[in-house]
Symmetry: C2
Subunit: 203 residues, 2 copies
C-alpha cells in the first residue's frame, strides 16, 4: 500500500483547498500558475504531477466546491415541515454564505469564475448551475404537490425567481453588499410566495 518512489512533499487536499481559494477569489484566467505555486508553496512540476494541467485542476476544484455547496443545500432542505420554510431558510443561508467573513465574496460557480474562451469549463459551470436550478424546481414542485402554492402560481416560475435571486445576490455580494442587505433581499424575495394555510394547520 505504501507508495513507491519519493513521497509527495505536500498535502494534496490542502493544496486543492488553496487552489479553490485562489480560483474563487480571482477566477480562472487571472489566477496564474505562478500565483498558485507561490500560494501553495510548491513548484510547477509538482503541481502538474499532482493535478494535471490548469484546466484539470480547475475542474477538480469545481467539484470540491460544488460538493460542499450541495451538502449545504441538502442539510438546509432536509428539515421537516413546510417546504416554503425550508426554502426560505435555504435562501437566507445562501445570503449568509455569500457574505461569510474569510471566504471570497459571492458564489464561485455563478460569478467568480468566468473563463471566457474555455468552452469546456464554461459548459461545466453552466451544468452545475443548471443542476442547482433543477434542484430548486424539484422543491417547488414538491411544494405544489403538497398544496403549499397559491392556485395560480407555477412551481417552475417560482423556482426561477428564487434562482434569479440567488444569482443576483451572488453578484451583489461581489459588488460589496453586506450581510444585512443580502438577508433583507432573501426575506423580501420570499414574500413572493405567500404562506398558504393548509386545511388542518394550526395557529
Amino acid at each position: 500500500m505504501a507508495a513507491l518512489g519519493r513521497p509527495r512533499g505536500f498535502d494534496r487536499a490542502v493544496a486543492l483547498d488553496g487552489a479553490l481559494q485562489a480560483f474563487w477569489e480571482q477566477g480562472f484566467e487571472s489566477t496564474s500558475i505562478a500565483d498558485l505555486t507561490r500560494r501553495l508553496g510548491i513548484a510547477p512540476p509538482s503541481l502538474y504531477a499532482a493535478f494535471g494541467d490548469k484546466r484539470a485542476l480547475f475542474l477538480e476544484v469545481l467539484d470540491l466546491y460544488y460538493d460542499r455547496f450541495v451538502q449545504f443545500l441538502d442539510e438546509t432542505l432536509a428539515v421537516p415541515g413546510a417546504r416554503r420554510d425550508a426554502i426560505a431558510a435555504m435562501l437566507l443561508g445562501i445570503a449568509r454564505f455569500y457574505s461569510t467573513p474569510g471566504l471570497p465574496r459571492g458564489c464561485m460557480v455563478n460569478t467568480a469564475a468566468a473563463p471566457t474562451g474555455e468552452p469546456i469549463l464554461l459548459a461545466r459551470l453552466a451544468e452545475l448551475r443548471s443542476s442547482v436550478q433543477e434542484r430548486l424546481r424539484r422543491e417547488t414542485r414538491a411544494a405544489a404537490d403538497a398544496g403549499e402554492l397559491p392556485r395560480d402560481m407555477e412551481p417552475d416560475a417560482l423556482a426561477a425567481v428564487i434562482w434569479t435571486a440567488v444569482l443576483g445576490m451572488s453578484m451583489r455580494s461581489r459588488d460589496g453588499a453586506d450581510r444585512d442587505e443580502l438577508e433583507s433581499t432573501a426575506r423580501l424575495t420570499m414574500t413572493i410566495w405567500p404562506p398558504v394555510r393548509r386545511s388542518g394547520d394550526q395557529s
Copy 2:
C-alpha cells in the same frame, strides 16, 4: 474644418459599435486585438490611432453601452402614473432587452465583461452598476414619498430586490433562459410590491 492628412478609411462610430458587439459577446479578456481587427476590417495601427489601447477602447465602448441603457431607463421610467407601474414596465423591458434576438445575451455591464486583473475596468463597471442601483433607489424612494409603498416596506430594500432580479435575469439570459421565462420572472418579482390603493384612486 477638413482634417489634415490622409483621411481615416473607416467610420469610427461603426467601428465602435462593432467593438461593442465583440466585447459584449466575448468579454474584455477573450476578445483579442486580432478578433477586433478581423471583425472591423481594419489593421491594428488604425485601431490604436483611433481609440488608443485596448483598455481605452473598452472604456469608450462601455460609455456607449451605458448611455443607451440609461436612455432606455429614462424613457421607461418617464411615463406618468404610479411609480410602481413604471418600475414594473422597466423590469419587463429589461427582461426583453436581455433576450433581444440579434443582440448578445444579458447585460454587458453585469455579466459579459469581467476583466479580472484589470482594476480600472472593474472599478468602472462597478461604478456603472452602482449608478443604476442608485437610480432604482431614487425611484422607490419617490414611490415611498408618494405613498405607494406598504408602511413596513423599506424603499432601499425594495430597490435592492429589484436590482437583484436585474442582475439575476442577466445571468439567466446568458445561461439560455428565453424571453418568456425572463418576463415571467419580472412579473413575479413585482408581486413583492403590492399595489397600494391611495386615497382618492379610482377603480
